[in-house]
């Protein structure tokens, strides 16, 4: 088990009701963690999202380490 910090934005923050969670997880990869949270919070399908680990874009296959900060990124709409 590892501990990661997950910060939520936009639709994800609306679904969770909190901006940030500290999570104990057995997830190996970012995509595993998303699947876990998707069930709990009724998140949208992964296909339309990106992920950032420690404030940098990452692959969904990237390994999660203890203490990582993770952000799931729904489709952006700046400007």
């Amino acid at each position: 088990m590892k501990t990661v910090q997950v910060e939520y934005f936009a639709v994800l923050r609306e679904r969770t009701g909190v901006p940030v969670e500290t999570i104990e997880t057995a997830a190996e990869k970012a995509s595993d963690l998303y699947a876990e949270l998707q069930q709990r919070h009724d998140f949208p399908e992964l296909a339309s999202l990106k992920v950032a680990i420690n404030d940098e874009f990452a692959d969904w296959d990237a390994a999660l380490c203890n203490g990582d900060s993770v952000v799931f990124i729904p489709p952006v709409a700046g400007g």
Binding site: E7, A10, R15, P44, S48, P74, V76, A77, G78, G79
Partner: protein
Amino acid sequence: MNGFRIQSAALQPNVDRAMLQSEACGGFVSFEGWVRNRNEGQDVLRLEYQAYEALANKEGNRIVAEALQRYPIEHALCVHRVGALEIGELAVWVGVSAGHRDEAFRACRYIIDEVKHRVPIWKKEHYLNGDSGWVNCEACAHPGHHDRPPEKSKEPGA
């Protein structure tokens, strides 16, 4: 004075524009994104912008650096607002100064196009009919949350 920045205070294009002036520059192009009163056929009351600031600043600064490398321009700056915005307010400003106008136009266009596609900033529209929705998020529609119907558009906004 090159780069990208996010702020919750109202943008001041005059102040930022003055920072891009140079006696070597003959051309200056700026883009302003204003909050419209309609989008995708719905009457919009107000907007809310939310940013993942740490990564938005990194990615925004990368985009401006790319523009400075691709085009022979002098200065380039992009400022994006976050928080609650009313109709007509300035949401994003891009300014580019260059020796000649062609490069200034192309670099300004490059920056706003890339910012809209790549920088983690989200926009929630509040509609006249009481609904609201996160723009461009087809997967966000959710019965019971008063989100608007899924969008078909792949192009992010104006």
